[in-house]
């Protein structure tokens, strides 16, 4: 058992730390999403030139071929320094790895480089209005027409669809096959007439996600990834990559939030002292620290296991569940500490911390829904970790 970094890992961390300190572009502009995206594109270009984009990708495909620990170090350090995300976060974390794992040589040659540079943004077309947790029931149809496929249907919760050149689209190509077998994974060109996107306004008031409508949109046969009818297996790779890649960045992000929460408690007057002196708040803050620490240590145990077995196990679901719980608790506690001031949002003169916690509270409601709902994660844990029988 050894929870320290090896000398070469320490060297890697120092290299990451120094590079980020010297190249950090500062906070994102407080402006519309268009400006934010252009800022993130510049940042991704900078990351790519220094070899930090796609650090998990093999070197032959333009990545750094970093070990899992190095990926964890990079994610943790970037979040600790509050570096902005790259513009093409979905392409880097999911699209690229899927093309590398399942794509043809032509596809690798065509798609990988522009993902790394951020020149082409990617989005993910999985969820549909009637297919959320039961993803394999999706109805968007692709019908063969010569050497093309004609796609009709609707996707929802599509992040960055309005900026995307490529969509990782899962569509039904065989309506008669059992539901997991009739699916195919396509790379769909978003810049065509048959594709319409519309922002979906969420409870924060923002339009982070989109609805996407396909009306006889066209995809060449050459854009099938992993073979016709294999869409489910290819999509699962995408989701596994999503979970494995996010853990350490997410932990760092919660550590940042906890630091801000402690500061909020210390600066908020309560009962002639501060909230940080109130036993009730102290107990709850301590419990959050303890839970974050257990999440961090679980992630290390999971990483050790994955490095031995080569594949992330279903235990990763525990981390995603715990992250959602903690992030929600944390923002709820912040509003409790603010008391009546917690009513005031961004834009109010008297809002505490510029209304940041009000936004975080609302945004974190989605944490137990996005990327696998907590209820579904519990099913996965019950069935695949504990071996309990399936209800279905």
């Amino acid at each position: 058992m050894d929870l320290t970094l090896s000398p070469s890992e320490e060297e890697f961390r120092d290299e990451v730390r120094t590079w980020l300190e010297e190249n950090h572009p500062g906070p994102e502009p407080e402006a519309g999403l268009d400006e934010v995206m252009s800022f993130r594109r510049d940042w991704q270009r900078q990351l790519h030139e220094a070899g930090w984009a796609g650090i998990s990708w093999p070197q032959e495909y333009g990545g750094r071929g970093a070990t899992m620990i190095e990926q964890a170090i990079f994610a943790a350090e970037a979040t600790r320094q509050e570096a902005p995300p790259p513009a093409n976060v979905l392409g880097l974390a999911m699209g690229g790895p899927v093309v590398i794992a399942h794509g043809s040589d032509e596809q690798k040659a065509r798609y990988l480089e522009p993902i790394l540079t951020g020149e082409e943004i990617w989005c993910q077309g999985f969820s549909e209005p009637e297919s959320g947790s039961d993803l394999a029931s999706l109805k968007t149809r692709a019908v063969k027409d010569g050497d093309e496929w004609v796609v009709t249907g609707q996707k929802v919760w599509t992040t960055f669809a309005q900026y995307a050149k490529w969509c990782m689209l899962v569509a039904r190509t065989d309506p008669d096959a059992p539901k997991h077998q009739g699916l195919t994974y396509f790379l769909m060109d978003m810049k065509q007439e048959g594709v319409q996107t519309r922002p979906l306004v969420q409870i924060t008031g923002e339009g982070e996600f989109n609805e996407v409508f396909f009306e006889e949109a066209r995809v060449p046969d050459a854009n099938v990834v992993g073979g016709v009818g294999n869409g489910w297996a290819v999509a699962i790779t995408t989701l596994m990559n999503e979970r494995a890649g996010l853990a350490f960045g997410a932990i760092s992000q919660i550590q940042n939030s906890l630091g801000r929460l402690s500061k909020l408690a210390q600066e908020t007057p309560a009962n002639g002292g501060t909230a940080a002196e109130e036993p009730y708040f102290r107990q709850r803050i301590a419990q959050l620290y303890i839970e974050v620490e257990t999440m961090r240590l679980n992630a290390y145990r999971g990483l050790t296991k994955t490095m031995q077995s080569g594949i992330p196990g279903p235990e990763g679901s525990l981390g995603k569940w715990q992250w959602a719980d903690i992030n929600q608790d944390l923002t709820e506690l912040a509003l409790e500490i603010e008391g009546a001031y917690s009513l005031l949002m961004r834009g109010s003169d008297h809002a505490v911390a510029g209304g940041a916690w009000q936004y975080s509270f609302l945004r974190s409601r989605a944490n137990s829904i996005e990327g696998g709902t907590t209820d579904i994660l519990k099913n996965i844990i019950a069935e695949r970790v504990l071996g309990l029988p399936r209800l279905r």
């Binding site: 090896s6 890992e9 350090e77 600790r80 408690a265 803050i285 419990q287």
Partner: protein
Amino acid sequence: MYFDLTDEQQAIKSTAHDFLASRFKSERIRKIAASESGFDEAGWREMAELGWAGLALPEEWGGQGLGIVELAVLFEEMGYALAPSPLLSNTIAGLAIAAAGSDEQRERYLPQLASGELLATPALMDAGTPAEPGAFAMAATEDGDGVVLDGEKTLVMDAASAELFLVATADGRRHLVEKGATGVTVIPEESIDLTRRLSSVRFEGVRVAPQNTLPGGADDYFPPVFLRACVAIAAESTGVAQRALDFSVAYAKDRQQFGRPIGAYQAVSHRCAQMLLETENSRSAVYGAAWAADAEPESLPLAASMAKAYASDAGWRVPDAAIQVHGGIGFTWEHDLHFFLKRGRANAATFGDAKWHRERVADAVLSGATAPAVA
């Protein structure tokens, strides 16, 4: 970075697991629990032969010289089996003499403690004082070249089998008093936990010769003894939780209602998933703290309090949930679950409860100590 047991640690775990599973079956645990002293001498002798009594004591005094990670591995298995044994109290007494004793005292007691021939137990809490660790009321009144002890200690573990008490006094010192010494009376108490006996011990004008007072002061006990004891008992609670989870999963697969195994219902399976989460979190916190005790002592105070706080809760909540998964049978005396719930509850309140340890965590993090950085 390697956060898992090494092959050697894994071997300790499986040896302990197999030995305890073969020796401590339900009937035997119930027999010990129902006996007058609660002490299973034959079981203790076997554990001593395996070297467990001196596992974490230095080799020069007859111990195995292993670390707190190995100790945690062992106590996790002790909790899993719920083996009634004075191993915890004896281990703590040994750690205390090793940390704060004179060489002469170490020479005199540690080899015997490590071999299991001598049993010792700490006598810490003063009857009637607030339930907080570390503050002692009993005076050590100077008397010639020694001291005299008057007062009553309570919640003393395994007093029936112990021959030697390590008595804490208000000045932060510890004194070695034999059970047979004049003025010592042991009064067995009724504990919620039938598998670990508690007593009160009355000291009436008990004279302690100077060679029987440990030279160390309060600081010599806090990190090296108390925090290690917290890690050990938190490990035990983790094992308790794991066993309650295993009982529940097996039962949920087997028990049929409405024509299906109850584990197919999400009300049951999600409860089991929650139990797994708490058990795994507890284990991670314990091994993080055990590793800190061995390799990074400066982070032990925070890590040990995190582990003890978390395991205090999980150690009884998981068996509590297990009783709900079992339904009516889980509430019967006949089922073993109640022994696990009771040990979990007892451990939760021993060596500082979750609230006490959370306050220490709050103190550390709000006074500027940052959470450990990732990597």
